[in-house]
Symmetry: C2
Subunit: 215 residues, 2 copies
Amino acid sequence: MSIAEAPGLRERKRIATRKAIQRAVLELALERGLERVTIEEISRVADISPRTFFNYFVSKEAAIVGDSPDFIDGEALQHFVDGGPNGDLIRDLGYLLADAAERASEDRDTQIMRKELHSKYPHLFALRMAGMRVFEDELSAVVARRLLREDAAYAKDQATLASRSRLVTLVAMGALRHAWTCWADSANKSGEPLAGRMRDTFDQLESVFVKSRQS
Amino acid sequence: MSIAEAPGLRERKRIATRKAIQRAVLELALERGLERVTIEEISRVADISPRTFFNYFVSKEAAIVGDSPDFIDGEALQHFVDGGPNGDLIRDLGYLLADAAERASEDRDTQIMRKELHSKYPHLFALRMAGMRVFEDELSAVVARRLLREDAAYAKDQATLASRSRLVTLVAMGALRHAWTCWADSANKSGEPLAGRMRDTFDQLESVFVKSRQS
DNA sequence: GTGCAACATTGCAGACTATGCAATAATTGA
DNA sequence: TCAATTATTGCATAGTCTGCAATGTTGCAC
């Protein structure tokens, strides 16, 4: 929306190259194991020079883990800021994330290959989380907007607002990890939707917190 | 306790070398920036051969981020499993972690240098989180023990128990991240204790979850 | 469509990382 | 003291990653 209507040749080529590299590295890594894949091979398969590889990714691993999600916008975001689908902060945040996950679709194959590699090499998974830092910051800002809506008193204390938003965000990221691992561990019936898992996880989250108090 | 009463010369040397390397890399990285430090220099300062460096750490970064915490045991653990200090699952878990943080003391300097580097190079911080995987698994097992105590019905459904434990653990790790960043961002009055921050964070956590429901 | 500015790709050189292997040295325990 | 075990080291080698300068492509104004 906010960006280019017509991407233009240059941009289209760039995206194509990026995808070609990602495909290449995923296929090779699945076929013969991550450590037995070299940049040279990847480049050969993706039909670029080794030097070009590094114009796109800083490492093999970076090419595998995939890009961090785009910034969330649109009406789901506004809905969240205005008091979310359920009126429960964390859960609403989870639903917002699930929503974003549904939207951000890649090739089904790419997604599945990635998933496979993630459960085979857990450190990749960790790397992926590591790469979400900027996304986390964006999310944190969104949470801050909602908190401010819920309680205008936060306006007087920016530090507390920031801290609180970040706490909520990081807890949500923890839940997100849970959803991911559940999804990755689940039998590979191709259909299994990630977004559904996410909603499940965030629903459970509520009961985890409430339960101990009741008993 | 369970391990060696008297470490023996070999073991003591090993630990000394390990610390020497960590000191060396921390000092050098602070002094001239992470990317301008080579293994060769580190080895020179730590007084070992470059080859030996790799017998201790797989990379510069690994030497910087420090070891992941030892397994938690002792009476605090038992107390947690039996219904924890407050009777609130997540909060109790936080207190358990804070407890462990208090115990696991390193040189004050080392700790401060690490902290400095962590805020200077956020990807190191992420790396540290990534290195906590096995610790997370241990923690998850501990949480499972407590859940089973609270509700014996879990015994019938190991899958749910495992999933639930993992969810709680990952959420707690999120909160832990929050505590860490607060601590790292705080002005460097040397005294500021990490454990205190952790307890703060986990106390807030409760209100985050409850608040939205009340309003 | 010509031409120029902006950007992308490539090859090459060079520094650094990382691992296997075999020789050497230190520690352990009997 | 001796043999077993474990640690350190140097060397060789494969691979990663970056800067730079040359060459190719695309975008855009005219």
